[in-house]
């Protein structure tokens, strides 16, 4: 099984751990992630202005490329996933944007939203299946209490993302169970980490990350997992004892691909 794969800038640099272990794990599960040729930065944030076309075009190009390859487009970084999935949603639902985007790009075949955008976790849930995943685990993380940190971008706005219940998601918790650990539910898991504003105003992300980490620790988590390099940064920078890692790292651990640090 081969899927198209959009890694994004951060996964090629600071977020290598998310990417490397993600790909390795998928290979172990029998799925090859084929990197899209010549992908460009997704833009990192989704422009909320209805009249901004240009900043959404690189996402449209990636989508059109995936459409031409005929395979679903898998993303791993929350930000890329957010931008690409919403762009696809808008192409499908906003005729004006669709026409204008196609006019700009003048592709051979107009892009009409044919591609399917999947997050890595959606592939695990809907294509591999958490039951199957559980069976392939060789080193279950038994006894670990892991809190899932969703952040904002995977879940909201739920209409366009259609990823999971935006207020009570379970996909990461199901994942945690599949790798043999115990999921810890805590309410702040879908609240913001402070995002890019950390650049200008670190106090805001301190407050936000603090609230998230405190809540997770209070509910008994010993580790937090995330799918977003920026969330990881904010939580680690403002964190205390609670380790924060990419979910793909734990996946690789459970599949026996990654050495467990002592």
């Amino acid at each position: 099984m081969t899927y198209s794969y959009f890694p994004g800038c951060t996964l090629k640099t600071r977020g290598k751990d998310l990417d490397t272990w993600g790909r390795a794990s998928m290979e172990a599960l029998g799925i090859h992630l084929e990197e899209l040729p010549q992908w460009q930065c997704c833009g990192a944030v989704y422009p909320l202005a209805k009249d901004e076309i240009g900043s959404r075009l690189s996402a449209v190009r990636a989508l059109a490329a995936a459409r031409d390859l005929g395979t679903p487009l898998v993303t791993l970084c929350s930000a890329c996933h957010h931008v690409i999935k919403r762009t696809n949603y808008d192409i499908r639902h906003d005729a004006l944007f669709r026409d204008r985007a196609n006019n700009y790009m003048a592709p051979d075949t107009a892009y009409q939203g044919e591609a399917q955008v999947l997050h890595y976790l959606e592939v695990l849930r809907d294509h591999v299946g958490f039951d199957t995943l559980a069976k392939k685990v060789v080193k279950p993380l038994t006894g670990r209490k892991i809190g899932a940190y969703y952040g904002c971008l995977l879940l909201r706005p739920s209409k366009a993302m259609a990823f999971d219940d935006p207020e009570n998601p379970t996909i990461l918790e199901d994942f945690i169970q599949a790798i043999g650990a115990q999921p810890v539910f805590y309410a702040q898991r879908n609240e913001c980490c402070g995002g890019y504003v950390t650049l200008e105003d670190p106090s805001l992300s301190q407050a936000r990350a603090g609230a998230v980490l405190h809540n997770a620790a209070a509910q008994g988590a010993d580790t937090l997992i995330t799918a977003c390099p920026l969330c990881l940064y904010n939580l680690q920078k403002n964190g205390g004892k609670l380790p924060v890692v990419y979910f793909t790292e734990l996946l690789a651990e459970a599949l026996g691909l990654k050495e467990v640090p002592v």
């Binding site: 209409k159 219940d165 207020e167 009570n168 539910f185 805590y186 309410a187 702040q188 609240e191 405190h214 809540n215 209070a218 509910q219």
Partner: protein, 663 residues
């Protein structure tokens, strides 16, 4: 050829000042078929009516045209006049030369010319009128009430009081509805059970009322005065006639872990149960989903302990078909699910409850015996946060409802007040968007909650509830104070929007009663006929028609009952004779008319017709039930072959009017 008389009214100077009535009468006298034409000061006066009557007899008139005020004013008057004189009342047509002519034109020649044309159109129509006789249909003097909550109970009691037999169909094992779960009622704070249970007893003791509990309507046929309804009475595996309601079985049943729906799952019951002590009928019911005897044939404890021998594991569903003259819908409401609003952590913490759950937690017969305790740890809560409008007033997306649920502001004030009264050491916060208290003594009640009981009303909304360290961390806005609030609460209470009961939609289909997009039943007229469905013989009681509190529900229940009594006290119903009529020779049997009929007045039969060469052809043809047809005419246009026509407004009549006007 008709013999037509034309009567032009002056209406004092109302018409005569701008229309030359004499000239109109003279002009119309020349129209074909007109054998008599005259004018008079006031046609509607006794003298005017006598003049018409005399002319009918003297000239042997077969049709009458009255040029006067609007038919909405005096059509009935003149129909009666003609009937007295021996002419069929439907041989009268009115030319409206007052509202549509003399009153809106100033120039006399212009108005006179128009009056003549309007008169001609009426004459052209009368030429094609046919005598119509209003048919009658008998009335079955028994009513069906669907739903046994306070609405259904009140309606049934009122109808029975007037001497008519009533059946109540209730889907639960007991009547009583939502009100049985409520602790106290606003704005008087009297106990709900104290005012409801005597009524439930009245129902059970009333000889005219038959309670069919644990049952649902399966099929409805017929029309106003003549409904035939099939009711499925579900097997309760207990013989109702033998069970004494002693309750021994409900204590001995070994299956103890059944969520108790009466307490909204806050505690458990047994697999055989009586919902609550005052249930009517007070009869045990076996829950087939949990009873091990029914599931695996092992157990039988209840049968062993039952002295009355009432347990019957072999009982089957029973189908009952009965005839009714009227049907009252009283299917009530349900609070919506909270699964789309988990920012309030309803799924994450047992200490986040809905208002109805809070009623159970405060009720003496509830899981905590009336002491307010946190479901998570059974401790006494010291800080409570109420959130209003959860799921109400949403913009119509997948989340929530677009309407105001109407009752939440008041019951929240009640809850806040009761808690502050009983536990003065608690702090109570109510987050509101607007406080809506239109009702007698309602605003005073809400003010008392604030002023006497010190409930903190904060304009704003809760944005997030985070369970942490045994508390519920509430993040909210205080719009008037201009701040974001963070409250460590012990409990959060959600005022969940209410929606019509799920059984309402399929029921509406069976009844051909219309519903709005929110599944509330629509009334025949929003102002003037609020307790009737547009479908004749179907009446609406309580929250099935829209959110309502108890006094409104009872008032509407009484109103629905009085409408039913009015219907049932007639021996026969006079039908509107201006109904649709199919020409069977032209009918294709294609169902187009049936598709657009809002009343379900059209059915089909297979009928033999003579075919070529002495053969017989069976054809499907439409039949209109004149007792049900209201005469809108939707079918006449839907019919491709023009087989369907409307009496009193036939194709030919309307085209004759068109021709006369365009001549």
């Amino acid at each position: 050829m008709q013999r037509i008389g034309v009567f032009v009214c002056w209406c004092g100077s109302n018409i005569a000042a701008t229309v030359d009535v004499v000239q109109v009468a003279q002009a119309l006298a020349k129209e074909p078929g007109v054998v008599f034409a005259t004018d008079y000061q006031y046609m509607c006066s006794q003298a005017g009516q006598d003049l018409i009557g005399a002319a009918i007899k003297e000239h042997g008139l077969t049709g009458v045209v009255i040029c006067s005020c609007s038919p909405r004013m005096h059509e009935t008057t003149f129909r009666k006049t003609c009937q007295k004189a021996g002419l069929n009342p439907y041989m009268v047509e009115i030319a409206n030369i007052r509202e549509h002519c003399s009153w809106i034109h100033k120039d006399k020649p212009t108005a006179t010319e128009k009056a003549v044309i309007l008169g001609r159109a009426a004459i052209a129509k009368v030429h094609l009128n046919a005598p119509l006789t209003a048919g009658t249909s008998p009335v079955t003097k028994r009513a069906l009430v669907i739903g046994g909550g306070i609405a259904g109970i009140q309606t049934a009691l009122d109808i029975a009081d007037a001497g008519f037999p009533v059946d109540i169909v209730e889907k639960k094992p007991t009547i009583g509805g939502k009100m049985t779960q409520i602790d106290k009622t606003f704005p008087t704070l009297d106990c709900a059970a104290c005012i409801l249970t005597p009524k439930m007893v009245d129902v059970s003791q009333n000889e005219k009322i038959d309670i069919i509990s644990y049952a649902q309507v399966e099929k409805v046929q017929g029309f106003v005065g003549n409904f035939s309804v099939t009711i499925r009475k579900k097997a309760r595996y207990v013989d109702e006639s033998k069970c004494t309601g002693c309750g021994l079985c409900t204590e001995k049943c070994p299956q103890k872990k059944v969520p108790n729906e009466f307490n909204l799952g806050l505690d458990t019951r047994r697999a055989i149960y009586i919902p609550f002590a005052q249930a009517v009928p007070k009869v045990a019911t076996i829950d087939p989903d949990y009873c091990s005897m029914l599931k695996s044939g092992k157990c039988g404890v209840c049968a062993k302990v039952c002295a009355a021998g009432a347990i019957d594991y072999k009982q089957q569903d029973e189908l009952i078909t009965r005839e009714y003259g009227a049907i009252v819908v009283a299917t009530g409401f349900e609070p919506i699910g909270m699964d789309k609003f988990d920012e309030f952590a309803y799924a994450q913490s047992p200490d986040v409850v809905t208002s109805l759950e809070l009623e159970r937690l405060m009720n003496a017969a509830g899981p905590t015996g009336g002491t307010l305790l946190r479901p998570s740890d059974g401790t006494h809560p010291h800080t409570l946060v109420f959130v209003q409008c959860v799921g109400s007033r949403c913009d119509g997306g997948e989340k929530g409802k677009p309407y105001c649920s109407k009752i939440c502001c008041m019951y929240t004030a009640k809850h806040a007040m009761l808690i502050r009264d009983k536990y003065p050491d608690t702090e109570v916060y109510v987050f509101y968007i607007d406080v809506r208290t239109p009702g007698k003594n309602f605003d005073e009640f809400y003010r008392r909650a604030v002023e006497e009981y010190g409930v903190h009303y904060i304009k704003g909304m809760v944005g997030k509830v985070t369970p942490q360290d045994g508390k519920l961390k509430v993040q909210a806005s205080d719009l008037l104070g201009g701040r974001q609030l963070h409250i460590d609460a012990d409990m959060v209470v959600l005022a969940a929007a209410i929606e019509p009961d799920k059984s309402a939609r399929p029921l509406a289909t069976m009844l051909t009663a219309s519903m709005d997009t929110n599944d509330f039943f629509t009334e025949a007229h929003p102002k003037l006929r609020p307790v009737e469905s547009p479908t004749a013989g179907i009446f609406l009681s309580g929250a099935c028609q829209g959110p309502k509190d108890i006094p409104e529900t009872v008032a509407q229940a009484g109103a629905a009952a009085s409408k039913v009594i009015g219907l049932l006290s007639k021996d026969a119903l006079t039908c509107n004779p201006c109904t649709a009529q199919p020409d069977e020779l032209k009918c294709n049997g294609c169902s187009s008319c049936e598709n657009v009929c809002p009343y379900g007045a059209i059915s089909y039969i297979d009928k033999p017709f003579r075919g070529p060469n002495r053969t017989t052809l069976i054809r499907r043809v439409a039949q209109v039930n004149p007792a049900v047809c209201q005469g809108c005419g939707a079918c006449t246009v839907a019919c491709p072959s023009g087989a369907m026509d409307l009496q009193g407004f036939s194709n030919k009549q309307i085209m004759a009017e068109v021709d006369a006007i365009c001549r």
